[in-house]
């Protein structure tokens, strides 16, 4: 599977990573190389095999659906690049 420049541009956008136009051909080449390496998986007979969901067979524990902590707005916001009036601030998202 080889990745063309258009696919590389689309993947970069899906991943929310800005890539300069000039860098797209090199990126497409690198991604193609890695995908070619992965193509070995097509040699394996996986007929009837369930995809692994959990490496150790265990049941997830259950707990009461109750609030166990909270009331720490200052701590939640303390690392924000831009926090104002108790909120995370971001560029305008609604026109």
């Amino acid at each position: 599977m080889s990745i063309d420049i258009e696919t590389a541009r689309r993947v970069a956008h899906l991943a929310r990573i800005r890539v300069d136009e000039a860098d797209l051909p090199a990126l497409a080449g690198e991604l193609s190389g890695i995908l070619t390496f992965m193509e070995q998986l097509n040699e394996v007979d996986v007929e009837g095999v369930e995809p692994m969901t959990s490496v150790t067979p265990m049941r997830l524990k259950r707990r009461q659906d109750v609030v166990t902590d909270g009331d720490m707005q200052d701590k939640v916001l303390s690392n924000a690049p831009d926090a104002r009036e108790g909120f995370f601030a971001v560029p305008k998202v609604v026109e």
């Binding site: 899906l14 890695i34 998986l41 265990m58 690049p81």
Partner: protein, 491 residues
């Protein structure tokens, strides 16, 4: 001998006997850290915290002291430590100081440990040479010519710090070999526990179904002591196992008579260096001499472990790393006039993530995208099930542990892989990555030097939850190998 050169077990006895104070021991490490700047192992030193903790440890000495009372450790930058920079070696987490403490570091502190500071690593633990770090390369204390060598990765700072006696032990994390490969490259011991043995809470996530934290130490006994303090159930990590933690140190009986050691034929790779082959053969002899039975086994899907890993790990990473969006913590790009929120995400992530992280996030995005999910991600998860089945069958046939090489070579020079394609670097994990995919415990033990004078390790793989038995096998291998060499101090 300086106090920083002690093992954890030796220091514990000296502290308990009153021959050494935790403050003096900590000071010896802090002095070594200062002198060790050329290794670039410690990236955020915390001497004030260390001395406070050491003084508290000295005050506590006696019956109620924990298993690690007064023992100075280094902490990989991937662990969140309250009020102390925790960046996962990434610019995107620049300035991030967690408001909370990871479960592992909390447990270490409860056991009385002293934190000397945070250790260098590959960015988000993605790398095998510590060259993707935002702090620059960590450097291997082993040196045989004018080249600076890699300490391996991703836990390269941890490995360099322990091998150079800057600390008594360190925490590492291992997603595809990130504890065991650097341990082998620096002549120390590193164990990746069974998936679920150690809580992942408060450890920056890379690939959640593969990540596991473990100790990196100067001896197998130290690994047993440190793992005992790190392990245990944690309600905050739903994948942590609610089963008792045995006394790992007490399991080091040195008796492995009658134990069955599997030698997987698929690990004999084409083009494997003769030195690695010879080392592996010596390891087999050592275990046989100790009374173990050596049997050939087959793990037929070994060849497909790396490609499966390089689908699954980036897929999980692309999902885990979606949280770095410039909103809640870390870096946010400077925005231009009219830039909207998508511009903010894209510019922030382009500036904050290094090249290898960007590559893996994009690969992960691709294999999870509509139309490719079945072809790549689901197929890889099926192959993963087959890889685990290979191990299950070997253990069901009575094998107690499996012996393999730890790495395909000794440490290489920093910068030597810069022009190689990314897949060439991925091959470093060829012997270790199967263990993560199958969720098993694996340990790297230093066994000898190669012709250049650089350390080489062997890996032992254990049954799920049998770290105790695994450590005992490793203890026997360590004693038989008698590896006592240390890097010559050049820094």
């Amino acid at each position: 001998m300086n106090a920083n050169e002690l093992t954890i077990a030796e220091a514990r006895d000296a502290l308990a006997g009153g021959e050494l104070s935790a403050v003096d021991l900590t000071m010896a490490c802090l002095t070594a850290i200062d002198a060790g700047t050329p290794l670039n192992a410690f990236v955020h030193a915390t001497p004030e915290i260390a001395l406070d903790q050491a003084r508290a440890a000295d005050a506590r000495r006696g019956a109620d002291a924990g298993a690690l009372n007064g023992i100075p450790l280094g902490i990989k930058d991937l662990f969140c430590t309250k009020g102390v920079a925790s960046q996962a070696a990434s610019n995107i987490l620049k300035g991030f100081k967690p408001e909370y403490e990871s479960t592992v570091t909390s447990k270490l502190f409860e056991a009385g440990a002293v934190m000397l500071g945070k250790l260098n690593m590959d960015e988000f633990a993605m790398g095998s040479s510590n060259e993707t770090s935002c702090y620059g390369d960590a450097v291997n204390p082993w040196k045989v010519d004018d080249r600076r060598l890699t300490p391996g990765g991703s836990s390269g700072g941890s490995a360099a710090a322990v091998a150079a006696d800057l600390c008594l032990g360190a925490t590492g994390t291992d997603t595809g070999g990130s504890i065991r490969q650097p341990a082998a490259f620096t002549g120390i011991v590193g164990i990746k526990p069974t998936y679920g043995r150690v809580s992942r809470w408060g450890i920056v996530a890379f690939a959640s179904s593969l990540d596991q934290a473990g100790p990196m130490t100067k001896s197998v006994r130290d690994a047993a002591i440190l793992l005992g303090a790190m392990a245990g159930h944690d309600p905050k990590d739903s994948t942590s196992a609610d089963i008792p933690v045995p006394d790992f140190e007490a399991a080091l009986t040195g008796d492995i008579r009658g134990r069955k050691i599997g030698i997987p034929r698929e690990y004999r790779m084409d083009g494997m260096p003769a030195e690695i082959e010879a080392l592996w053969a010596r390891g087999r002899e050592m275990l046989a001499d100790a009374g173990a039975e050596i049997v050939d086994i087959s793990l037929p899907h070994t060849k497909y472990a790396l490609p499966a890993y390089y689908v699954i790990a980036p897929a999980e990473a692309s999902s885990n790393l979606a949280r770095y969006d410039g909103v809640r913590y870390g870096h946010r790009a400077r925005l231009g006039q009219g830039d909207g929120i998508v511009d903010m995400y894209e510019k922030t992530r382009a500036e904050g993530f290094g090249k290898e992280v960007q590559r893996r996030v994009m690969i992960g995005t691709y294999v999870l995208s509509a139309g490719f999910y079945d072809a790549y991600y689901n197929r890889a998860r099926k192959v993963r099930a087959l890889i685990k089945r290979d191990f299950d069958e070997a253990f069901a046939a009575g094998v107690d542990a499996i012996l393999t090489p730890a790495t395909p070579s000794s440490a290489f020079g920093l910068g030597e892989m810069a022009e190689a394609d990314p897949v060439a670097m991925y091959l470093n994990d060829v012997f270790t990555v199967t263990v993560n995919l199958a969720g098993l415990p694996g340990i790297s033990v230093p066994v000898g030097l190669d012709a250049k004078g650089l350390p080489l390790g062997l890996q032992l793989i254990g049954r799920p939850w049998d770290e105790a038995g695994l450590l005992n096998h490793a203890h026997v291998l360590e004693r038989a190998a008698g590896f006592v060499e240390k890097p010559r101090k050049w820094w």
